[in-house]
């Protein structure tokens, strides 16, 4: 009974935080552009449900977000802050694309490769932490940059990967999968029919949800999860129990890396987007942090928080012509930021409930 109650408090607090976030977002819109604020907010909130295409897009974006959220949340449970999801995501994307275009592999093999890539990128911060006690936050931030430039460097030296090679004159992006290797595109599984021929939809959300459930099982039902959480809660006591904390730190980072990497694979193998050589770190990995926070790192909760953030983003991009992308990004950030206050709200609600409980007893 108590557990149910706690769940309820958790859900209520998430909902309240989201509402507060939306309210602040709206106030900000009012300040920035009073004339169109109402319309803008309307666009943001309704776009995802306005037609099947956009509805599909929400799922399409939620899948990689969910993977990054799982990655950050999984590391959290072990007491690690994986701020390197972005780098792992980038390397995962590269591995997937290399498998698809360079090696001409089918989609599922490319996804496996993306896990491997992400995992490799997760090992380093894990090893540095375990062997030299270097804070994983510092190493993973550095590896975000290293990962991004490494991928740029590699792609720049692999002309066969780029779209110019397929006769579409640009050298700043990878080849479209429809030209290079259609079998590497994640299948739609017939979903496109349900979603009104949405160009976005494929089975990636199912993959991501399956992984979320798998993570939940690992953390809650296995002795491996028992060890990982023990290290996260109390490292000294884990040592006392004979748990090899260092081994678990490395393993946890490998898994977290693989999750982010898979996120990168899922996103770029959808066939709708090409990897563009850029000079800024991809934000998807960082978005994993609020996704995890909003769900209190619970793998199942992460599914919903990823969907929510994707929903806001889909709405945000539809505001484009009327609002500058900066404005939209600010609004989205404010909403996400406040939503991540779920934890704080939780404490307040718990107190509130305790007080009303007391009143009932007295009455």
């Amino acid at each position: 009974m108590k557990k149910n109650n706690q769940m309820l408090v958790g859900i209520i607090s998430s909902v309240i935080s989201i509402a507060v976030g939306l309210l602040f977002g709206f106030i900000l819109l009012l300040i920035l552009n009073p004339a169109k604020a109402g319309m803008g907010m309307g666009t943001m909130l309704t776009t995802a449900f306005s037609n099947m295409d956009q509805f599909g897009k929400m799922f399409y974006q939620a899948a990689p977000l969910l993977m990054c959220g799982l990655s950050v949340g999984f590391a959290f449970k072990t007491g690690l802050f994986n701020i390197g999801a972005s780098g792992q995501y980038t390397i995962g994307a590269f591995f997937a694309l290399f498998g698809a275009i360079g090696l001409q592999l089918p989609w599922w093999a490319c996804l496996l490769l993306s896990c491997v890539g992400g995992a490799i990128w997760g090992i380093f911060p894990g090893l540095f932490k375990a062997l030299f006690n270097v804070n994983e936050v510092i190493t993973s931030i550095m590896f975000n940059w290293i990962g991004m430039y490494l991928v740029n460097l590699l792609l720049a030296n692999m002309p066969f990967m780029l779209s110019a090679y397929y006769g579409v004159g640009t050298t700043d992006r990878t080849a479209a999968l429809s030209d290079a290797n259609p079998s590497a595109i994640i299948p739609t599984g017939g979903l496109n029919h349900i979603f009104g021929n949405s160009s976005w939809i494929n089975i990636s959300m199912f993959i991501a949800v399956a992984v979320a459930i798998l993570m939940w099982v690992i953390l809650d039902k296995t002795i491996f999860g028992y060890e990982l959480k023990a290290c996260g809660f109390n490292k000294e006591a884990s040592r006392y129990a004979g748990i090899n904390a260092n081994r678990n730190i490395v393993l946890s980072m490998i898994i977290a890396g693989a999750l982010s990497g898979l996120g990168g694979g899922i996103y770029y193998l959808a066939g709708t987007i090409q990897y563009v050589l850029e000079k800024s770190i991809l934000s998807m990995g960082f978005d994993g942090i609020p996704v995890a926070l909003l769900a209190n790192s619970h793998p199942i909760g992460t599914i919903f928080s990823a969907l929510f953030i994707s929903y806001i983003k889909v709405g945000g991009s539809a505001m484009q012509p009327n609002f500058s992308s900066e404005t939209i990004n600010i609004i989205i950030s404010v909403i996400i930021y406040l939503a991540a206050f779920a934890l704080l709200t939780k404490i307040i609600i718990a107190k509130f409930l305790q007080k009303s409980d007391k009143k009932e007893v007295k009455a």
Partner: protein, 510 residues
Amino acid sequence: MADDYVIEMLHITKEFPGIKANDDITLQLRRGEIHALLGENGAGKSTLMSVLFGLYQAESGEIKKNGQTVKINDPNDANRLGIGMVHQHFKLVECFTVLDNIILGVEDTKNGFLQYDEARKKVMALSEKYGLKVDPDALVSDISVGMQQRVEILKMLYRDNEILIFDEPTAVLTPQEIDELMQIMRGFKEEGKSILFITHKLSEIMAVADRCTVLRKGCYEGTVDVASTTKEELSKMMVGRDVEFTVTKRSVERGETILSVRDLVVASKAHDNNAVKKVSFNVHGGEIVCIAGIEGNGQTELVYGLTGLEPVKEGSITLCGMDITNAPVRQRNISGMSHIPEDRHKHGLILDYTLEQNLVLQRYFEQQFQDHGFINSGEVRKYANKLIDSFDVRSGQGPVTVARSMSGGNQQKAIIAREIDREPQLLVAVQPTRGLDVGAIEYIHRRLVEERDAGRAVLLVSLELEEVMSLSDRILVMYEGELVGEFDNTVSTDELGLYMAGAKRMEVKA
């Protein structure tokens, strides 16, 4: 008006999930008295005090100060009413200095800057006046438990509190520090401060308290004048039966060598000198060997070295004929070593895990508790229930209680249950009865002796001479990292004291 009550807690009821921690409890504190609060582990003492200190809100009942009903919603309210508390498990900020900790929350500021000078003066004056020696600039993480407690006391004094709550202050202190604390408490009383004092040690109640209120399983049992009662009566009131204070031991044949330590050297974390210097000894099956000594003479490091929590610098450790000098903790556990650790929150428990999860802390991976990598939750539950029954571990929701919410004594019982039930060849027990009530102590002592009778080896580290004398077959005295004396249990405590203080020493050979 005959009775001048400074605090009255009337008909207090406080419920937690699964348990009524306080059920209609009334406690009246006279001005200028030392009032002891006695009860079994989990009887609700800490809860009652937390209600008075504003940490918990009672479901019903009222609190009066000087006859006026007051509402205490949080510790700030308590503070305003002059109520201060030293918690069972200290609440200090580890990475702050002593001074910072004392002024935390009541800092004087001028233009937004902290006014340290005034604060320092006041703290030093208080420390001088009451003989509470502290180093104001030391980090809390670096100071001894005794000093941490003095910091907690200074915190109350700094806030000019006059109703002082001490929740098991003596459980973590050395005998010398306990004497000092008793002296300090008497000083407070002379000044007219009123004290609520929780302890499981009846001799302390007899020594300083004026009256004593007894709780049992969340209910009020009665309040007695200490002058007109005895230890036996108090313990009977508390557990509802007569308690044996002496341990009966039959003589058993000393068995084979189980643990053999040779020239062991363990580095110290606090200073460059080694904490354990070339220590050699044996522990045999069927005997309880006790390491006696004043705190801080290398006992902690010796245990860390033996149990694998700290690396060994030199020397060797052999367990049942197997060299485990550099073996990882897991291997030591599997080879038959159990360890009741000194610090139950740091090492002994994962406070955010449930009781049942904690009870399989070193065994979760065993065949019995897993099924192809999955936790066999049915078996874990069954096992946990068995331990909870046989060791009488009390909590709100049984096996699924979160360890953090359990009473201190029951946390300790859970650890002891876990460690003894693993049927170790060697049981390393550090201060095993710390924080236990007399009934539980009686039971745990009996279990330790049973272990010995069953031919197992017990290495006991204890600061309490009474426990040392009544349990051990052999006593080793440790002083400044070395073994300086070896005795059987017929030695007098005075003689032992001389060795512990370093005034006498003898050659100890393994």
